[in-house]
Symmetry: C2
Subunit: 387 residues, 2 copies
């Protein structure tokens, strides 16, 4: 029943990009990916590695072909190079562009001036080149752009999906939802969103901005087809998220360390739901000129709730873990109101797979398998927001 489309995945070598490419390929779409391997370069520069080694893109693409008979076409190049972007769009003529091709870490962006600038230039310029090339070459294509729930910060009012109806001094307007992001990385996504809204308004582009929560899990139907197809699992303080770090801490027998009071509440979703959401967006494109925003997560947890979930799941597999709060390296509210709306994707048909102790236990199992590869020192926070 599903429409077959030409899908171009930006950042196709990454944690989400690669599973997305396989997901669409397996469903009969024609898939190409772009990557410049910046993420792998940054990992080497700061001295972290994913828990399980990840094959190079060309090897994964070849393995995919071997196993499924389907082609995923890799284009190797930098989105900051506008001529490269135009060349790929001319050659591939995508119907949908799914854009994960950005520097994804808040702590990385807060390391120093150079990393802050690198993050904002990489992310903003890449997206600018993509929208310019779309406008010139594939004006009817649909851009599905990954943003983050972190763009909103933690306002004292409900977080709507991208837009807010305001009445002020007796008059009304629908405005972009005001943002208060928490790092130069999150700010880069806010800048992207403003550039995208403009491109829709002035050029009539179709854009869906997915303000995604924190993704957990590493297994999808496709990664399960072969060891060589798996995607990256980061547990370090730069590229790893809280749930991953907590699981690795439990396995290595050190305390689980929430930052500060641990009352920080955020939206979360399973990697399988990311794929579902992106597919729903692709199958139900934004209208011409529409800047559409979805809040993409399925559940809200506090950091403390995650820490307890991991402690309890660890107990079930025979590991005794303790929780120890450490000084928060970030500057953020540690107790706050949080009421983000997230109804648009369920309305399109999203069937969420909620976080369970079963899933955490399976993550713990995977980590135990690779316990010897864990670099314990990389979990400790090394970037202070205030430095």
């Amino acid at each position: 029943m599903k429409k077959q489309q030409k899908i171009l995945v930006l950042g196709g070598d990454g944690y989400l990009g690669w599973p997305t490419a396989m997901y669409f390929s397996r469903r009969g779409n024609e898939v190409a990916v772009i990557d410049n391997f910046n993420k792998r370069k940054w990992e080497r520069q700061i001295g972290v590695v994913p828990l399980v080694p990840i094959l190079p893109l060309d090897k994964r693409v070849a393995l995919w072909m071997e196993i499924t008979g389907s082609v995923i076409t890799p284009y190797v190049g930098d989105l900051k190079d506008s001529r490269f972007v135009r060349r790929v769009l001319k050659s591939f003529q995508p119907d949908v562009i799914i854009h994960y091709g950005e520097q994804p870490s808040a702590p990385f962006s807060m390391m120093n001036t150079v990393r802050a600038v690198e993050t904002q230039v990489n992310n903003v310029v890449g997206t600018l080149n993509v929208i310019y090339a779309m406008h010139q070459i594939v004006p009817d294509a649909h851009l599905v752009k990954l943003g983050t729930m972190g763009e909103y910060g933690t306002p004292n009012i409900a977080i709507e999906e991208g837009w807010l109806d305001v009445t002020h001094k007796g008059r009304s307007d629908r405005v972009l939802y005001p943002k208060k992001p928490g790092s130069f990385y999150h700010l880069s996504k806010v800048h992207d969103s403003h550039n995208l809204e403009f491109a829709c308004r002035v050029w009539g582009l179709r854009v869906t901005d997915l303000n995604q929560g924190v993704v957990y899990g590493i297994e999808t139907e496709e990664t399960g087809l072969a060891t060589g197809l798996q995607t990256s699992f980061h547990y370090d303080a730069i590229f790893g998220t809280a749930l991953n770090r907590f699981c690795v801490q439990a396995v290595t027998g050190v305390s689980i360390t929430p930052y500060g009071k641990g009352g920080q509440r955020r939206g979360y979703l399973n990697i399988m739901d990311t794929l579902q959401c992106v597919e729903l967006a692709a199958l139900n494109p934004a209208s011409q000129g529409e800047f559409r925003v979805f809040n993409q997560f399925t559940e809200v947890f506090s950091v403390n709730e995650l820490a307890e979930l991991v402690r309890n799941a660890a107990k079930d597999v025979g590991i005794s873990a303790s929780i120890r709060h450490i000084k928060n390296p970030r500057k953020e509210d540690e107790e706050h109101y949080y009421e983000p709306v997230h109804t648009a994707l369920p309305k399109l048909g999203l069937k969420p797979q909620l976080l369970s102790s079963t899933l955490v236990e399976s993550m713990l199992g995977k980590i135990i398998e690779h316990k010897d590869a864990i670099r314990k020192t990389s979990i400790k926070p090394r970037v202070s927001w205030m430095k």
Copy 2:
């Protein structure tokens, strides 16, 4: 009665930067300027020149010393070079940084991908380097940053000064005023504002963001001291504003050409009032951690009102000018609600000098003096928002 301060003017070779440097120097402050002459480079690249030739910065600084006995220290370098920015801040130790150092033209930013990227990178990276260096070297200094009223667009509700009190679903918050800017240039200023608000919130910087209207006039007390001290007058379609273009059109005997219906309403102010506003901001700094926004203009006009003002002033000096509406190269509302608040600067003591036919007549007089230097072809719009 005025406090003497160390004032660093970024973009000190420019239309507003140079008069600002002289203004503060003449009032006994210690003044330094930074410039990399990018603006002069861009003028050469696109083939436009100011109506009256402008001396190089070193010659203007020497002349200023000769006439007033005061030193304006020039630092030549690029704000995109973080080490250069740090070096200047360490050496000069400013109390106030007045930041005009950005690519200032909307049509320039809309020429093509390369110019869009150049504009956003130049403006955003420069400001990022400045705030990082302030945080590290002069955390108590006050940044007075020039933004633009064009960041707001033309919403259907009153435009407040940077922040908006919102009540939503029974709860309240004070949020950044939502933005809907009209070009990649205006977007770059929106990006700056978000980065600045973050730097105040997380690092405790003091920032005043001046959302300035369209500035007219080229004469200040200091430019009047010698011909060699004058500032630039642009009338071309890239760097010139509507009032300047209309005056030059009247003098050269071609029709005054408002874009589209001419109902576009904007805030305007005299260059002398820019200097007053910047001084008021410098003398009354933002508090530590405060991101303060002032809407900096004194009057609102529609493009049609400006066209008629010029036609009438021209008539008074014996020139018969006609008005002819041309296709709008921009994508913008040509008839819209516009109610921008601008009370903060008057509360600090701003005494505006409103736009009069006398001022327009004096501009016409100046243009007539240099009539032979006018390049008529440069007035015609050459950048389409839709291309």
